[in-house]
């Protein structure tokens, strides 16, 4: 393979990897706090993809405004889901497995809702960027993908700052390491969990918008979350940095593997590699072993 194509493939992979990283972090954030795999994140992604479409196509053809509105809508959707579906279970002290079951149900509910109501039509975002290819020497970069990568970097950087430096970030980390002690110290755990879901939902909203813009919106767009979950596992559940590195790596690996061995064998190699990785290093790339694996 010549160097140009190799570089081009890595570039293709990394730009999509940015979105994988967004999903991995949105997913991992909740895993960190409540110690369960929140599959409803895929539902938030799907919902946001549709919200972004309707806002940009019917309300205002402005990228920035509709993008921000969708991000907030995603956040509110996640908070609502937590309130309606997860909080009652958590309050009653049911096992974590109930949370997982409910999160899967929510994801399926959203998917089926859109399949029945809007599934018979195709939805495409307005064209925000006219000439989509950018030529850098011999490389061709898609402007949409570049935008995706840029947004992912800014958002994840911002989130990382919030989690590490701000009061609410410290509270989220405190609740993550022990859910019952902070409340003894006057921390409103319910509120902190709501905020964590809001952050996660904002990431889901952004993911949905970017996927909808780059591809065509359909009820199954949220199933891309699987890639995010994989990245999250590789990165070490719950670690932001790990999720980012793993997302980018997964994107690049996928791109190179598809080009070299084909799309059919690629998942086999990737899943196989993940099993091996987890056998050697169960904590993932950057994480520490989470107390509850689910």
């Amino acid at each position: 393979m010549n160097w140009n194509i190799l570089l081009q493939q890595i570039l293709n992979g990394i730009s999509l990897g940015g979105v994988y990283a967004l999903m991995a972090v949105g997913f991992g954030l909740i895993f960190n706090v409540l110690k369960f795999s929140n599959f409803s994140h895929g539902g938030v992604v799907t919902l946001s993809a549709y919200i972004g479409f309707f806002l940009s196509q019917h309300l205002l053809p402005s990228f920035l405004v509709t993008f921000l509105l969708t991000a907030v809508a995603g956040g509110l959707a996640a908070v609502t889901i937590e309130r309606l579906v997860f909080r009652p279970i958590r309050r009653k002290g049911y096992p974590v497995s109930m949370l997982i079951v409910n999160s899967i149900t929510v994801a399926m509910l959203v998917q089926q809702f859109f399949a029945v109501t809007l599934g018979s039509d195709y939805y495409t975002y307005p064209v925000f960027i006219k000439e989509t290819a950018l030529h850098l020497g011999n490389l061709t970069v898609s402007k949409i993908y570049l935008l995706m990568l840029g947004i992912s970097a800014v958002v994840l950087g911002g989130l990382s700052y919030v989690i590490r430096k701000t009061k609410i970030g410290i509270a989220i980390r405190a609740v993550s390491s022990d859910i019952s002690t902070p409340s003894l110290m006057g921390v409103n755990v319910d509120f902190v969990i709501s905020v964590a879901f809001f952050f996660s939902g904002v990431l889901g909203g952004i993911t949905g918008y970017l996927l909808g813009m780059a591809f065509t919106v359909d009820p199954f767009i949220g199933s891309m979350i699987l890639k995010g979950i994989i990245a999250s596992i590789i990165g070490g559940m719950g670690s932001i940095l790990g999720g980012v590195i793993a997302g980018l790596l997964l994107g690049a690996a996928e791109s190179l593997l598809i080009a070299e061995i084909g799309a059919a064998l690629t998942p086999i190699v990737i899943y196989g590699a993940i099993i091996v990785l987890l056998l050697i290093r169960p904590q993932g790339i950057a994480g520490k072993i989470a107390e509850v694996k689910a």
């Binding site: 194509i5 081009q8 493939q9 399949a115 018979s120 495409t124 290819a133 791109s255």
Partner: protein, 396 residues
């Protein structure tokens, strides 16, 4: 105690024989004539299913308004099979055994057709569909030797050109009218329809002495094809064949456009509307085969009829619904019976059935239409135009 057991046994025997009697096929000679239909009304290909339903209902409405068939009204029994082969088999079995329909109008998804076809051979209620994979109508079809004589499934019929025939139309047009000689293709390996179009394309191109320089696959859930397209770009082929479903085709051309590919896009019949809305101007310069050209003056009557009924323009598969249900009703009329076996015989002998897509002559050896020409359409920006109204490719 013994007596109770005996009594129960006797009861079981009686019940058993009663259910046996009711299980033998009965042809209802009164009441409405039931025509079955399974289609994807939800899931990824729901637009095709709902459009097919609209066409089918329009046809039945018209027939019923004219007094029905053999003095009986026609009733459509419809189930959603959600783009799932398992659901399709369930729906077909229900139509054949419980609803006791005379014939079934099947979903146009090849994967579902491949699952239903062997079941239909056993249940013996004929299926008419647009599923193009040759193996649905002729199970022993060999893609490396497509002309070898084989037996059809007696109970499965196709009402449009098959995968190999459609692939030959676009490949033939590219070679003879557009002067192309090197080709690459990108298709969904998990979709029987896309896979057999790809096999047919490659077969025709190679037979004509032209060259396939690259064959690339993707998986059903994939939306990003940049890895494959980057490789395809380096191959510098004249034409790139993209024979998948609408969203996949649209994603592929958008990404090809973003990567600056210069090959001419060659499509399948899924490039028809709404591809113009979904892909937009990224599809510019593409050619693809289609059963109809919307500017064909001879089919404008259907546009008016459909517009009057539904207040919208008909899309591709509303034509299929109209034609396929019409074909089924014609066979029932010819058979003079709703007995599925007699209807099947009438279908096998159908010649010169006038459909919107053209005159359908069923070949009894393959259960597919023979000599049906297709239109070749093209994209200019996001507008679809007609390149050839009726095109028949050269024999390979």
């Amino acid at each position: 105690m013994k007596r109770t057991v005996l009594l129960l046994l006797a009861l079981a025997l009686i019940l058993g024989s009663v259910s046996l009697i009711s299980a033998t096929p009965q042809v209802e000679e009164a009441g409405p004539i039931k025509v079955g239909m399974y289609a994807d009304l939800s899931a990824g290909t729901a637009q095709w299913g709902t459009d097919a339903e609209k066409g089918a209902r329009l046809r039945i409405k018209e027939v019923n308004e004219k007094g029905g068939i053999m003095g009986r009204q026609v009733e459509l029994v419809l189930y959603d099979c959600k783009l799932s082969p398992t659901e399709a088999v369930k729906a077909y079995s229900r139509l054949a055994t419980q609803d006791k329909v005379a014939a079934v109008y099947g979903s146009l998804i090849s994967n579902s057709a491949l699952a239903v076809s062997p079941v239909a051979a056993q249940s013996k209620v004929p299926v008419v569909a647009r599923a193009m994979d040759e193996r649905a109508t002729t199970p022993g079809f060999d893609p490396d030797n497509p002309d070898a004589p084989i037996d059809p499934n007696p109970y499965f019929f196709l009402l449009q050109p098959s995968c190999f025939q459609q692939a030959a139309v676009i490949a033939g047009y590219a070679i003879d009218e557009l002067g192309m000689s090197t080709f690459a293709m990108l298709y969904n390996k998990g979709n029987a329809y896309a896979e057999y179009l790809a096999k047919g394309f490659s077969y025709y191109v190679t037979k004509r002495g032209k060259k396939m320089v690259g064959t690339f696959e993707f998986q059903s859930g994939d939306v990003d094809y940049k890895a494959q397209l980057t490789k395809i770009k380096a191959l510098k082929a004249d034409g790139l064949f993209i024979p998948n479903y609408v969203t996949q085709n649209a994603n592929a051309v958008k990404q090809a456009h973003e990567l600056g590919l210069t090959a001419t896009f060659l499509g399948n019949n899924s490039w028809y509307k709404p591809m113009d809305e979904v892909a937009g101007a990224a599809a510019d310069g593409a050619y693809f085969p289609n059963n109809i050209a919307f500017d064909d003056p001879s089919i404008q009557w259907y546009f008016q009829k459909y517009q009057a009924e539904y207040g919208e323009e008909p899309r591709l598969h509303s034509f299929s619904g109209w034609d396929d249900v019409g074909f089924i009703l014609e066979a029932i009329k010819k058979a003079g019976s709703t007995d599925p076996d007699k209807v099947r015989d009438a279908m096998e002998g159908t010649r010169k059935f006038e459909g919107i897509i053209g005159t359908i002559n069923i070949d009894p050896k393959t259960h597919r239409p023979v000599g049906l020409p297709m239109s070749v359409l093209y994209f200019e920006g996001d507008q679809i135009g007609t390149a050839a109204l009726k095109y028949i490719p050269k024999k390979p």
